[in-house]
Subunit: 234 residues, 2 copies
DNA sequence: CCAAGGCATTGACCTTGGTCAACCGGGCCC
DNA sequence: GGGCCCGGTTGACCAAGGTCAATGCCTTGG
């Protein structure tokens, strides 16, 4: 069990742990489990009893629902430095995961026991406020998602997604490297892979973007925003 | 300022207040504002600075987003005994309401100052855990909503809504009294009023329900579940 | 080096639900 | 009582995006 000294610093990237006292964080680190997942491996399934929550160390984990027909809707894609399934702890008696979780890539996640964490919350207010912040952010994200699913169309969602992927502080012809297969993005945006492909084609024909496999060059950010009627940031 | 003695009992119906100590609850009650809203009156708008959260005493309040074109999507309809906008308190520096809130009926809501409540949270763990429970439930509700928007069709959503409206412990030919105008239900389900009307017509023709204005008689619960492929409860 | 499987693309077609317009009926106000 | 307004219904039409099928391409493995 090698313990690199900066794992505390890594965990603090998550809102959940950001303001936690050093001793508390250390006691959590001592009890965490380091889990390796091959690509496509299931971490947990919807309906299973929830006893742990997770932090992504590396890789990508998708949280998704399945329809009875087997169609998949990705609710969220968890990236390194993010925690997930921590809200389930407060769902009352029947604590069950409300979604499925599966590794997209080969991944490593840290697992924390609910019991340990709950005990810690009971004696630490900063920790609790960190959790409240995490949950509040997730609520906001879900409301935004509902809005874009109901009040906006597929092109809007894809364009908004692309614009979100632009690294900060870039002004001219930004480059976007898709971090997941296009099919995964399609599910996240609630469209079919065929439709995703067609919309990208349309944008390419319009001279707004260039597509080379996973790599997309945005030729005209403003025009792209305009086609989807997205107001400028801020 | 008449203060009925059982306002504490009323507040305890909300998860947020359920397990709060009596003195804490009393101090909140002393600082609340009782707000009367006419039907259609706006309580707050998306983007406004958030300084208070609310408890519905009577009436119905809709939380909704607007598209640039003016289309409306109701995210949630708040009923007596429920709290809303309490999660906004933890969104960091820029605390702004993420949705609009407007009274559907003539309503009365109690308003609580964030500052007062936050001070109380800092010294009370039961209160904080009540809040975590509220937020956790709301997260779950939103995930369910996303699932039914993306993996299910309009008929499913309407049927699921109707089945939710059936009072507990009723077995035969349940009666459902719609608590809001049909247009409001349509927006909540993310369909057009015309479509809602047509789906009800289809179900009526199929002999599954009877519609008399706001009052709906469900003739065959099982068949209704089957048309939408909804598994039996539990 | 070739075969196989997975992802992406493209085309043809179809379905769901949205749009637009007309109409109905009840409550309300003058 | 008459006009009107609002919520709801109905019909005709339309369009966005889903479905199904064929094909290409790239990776992987024998």
């Amino acid at each position: 069990m090698n313990q690199p000294p900066d794992i505390a610093r890594e965990l603090r990237r998550a809102y959940l742990f950001a303001d936690m006292s050093e001793p508390h964080l250390q006691s959590l680190i001592n009890s965490l489990q380091d889990i390796r997942l091959d690509a496509g491996k299931t971490l947990f399934r919807q309906g299973q009893a929830a006893e742990r929550f997770y932090f992504v160390h590396e890789g990508l984990v998708k949280l998704f629902r399945l329809s009875p027909e087997g169609d998949e809707k990705i609710i969220e894609i968890m990236r390194p430095g993010e925690t997930f399934a921590e809200a389930v702890m407060f769902m009352g008696n029947q604590r069950r995961y409300p979604v499925n979780a599966e590794a997209i890539n080969a991944s490593r996640v840290y697992a924390f026991e609910q019991k340990v964490f709950l005990n810690l919350l009971r004696e630490s207010n900063e920790a609790t406020f960190g959790l409240l912040g995490s949950m509040s952010r997730r609520l906001h994200m879900l409301v935004n998602q509902i809005e874009s699913l109901t009040l906006q169309n597929a092109t809007y969602r894809l364009v908004a997604y692309l614009l979100e992927q632009i690294p900060r502080d870039v002004k001219t012809s930004p480059e976007v490297q898709l971090t997941t297969p296009k099919g995964v993005i399609a599910s996240r945006l609630a469209i079919q892979p065929e439709t995703l492909s067609r919309i990208l084609g349309k944008l390419r024909q319009g001279g707004l973007i260039e597509v080379h496999g996973n790599h997309i060059t945005i030729r005209d950010v403003q025009a792209l925003r305009d086609t989807a009627h997205i107001p400028p940031p801020e």
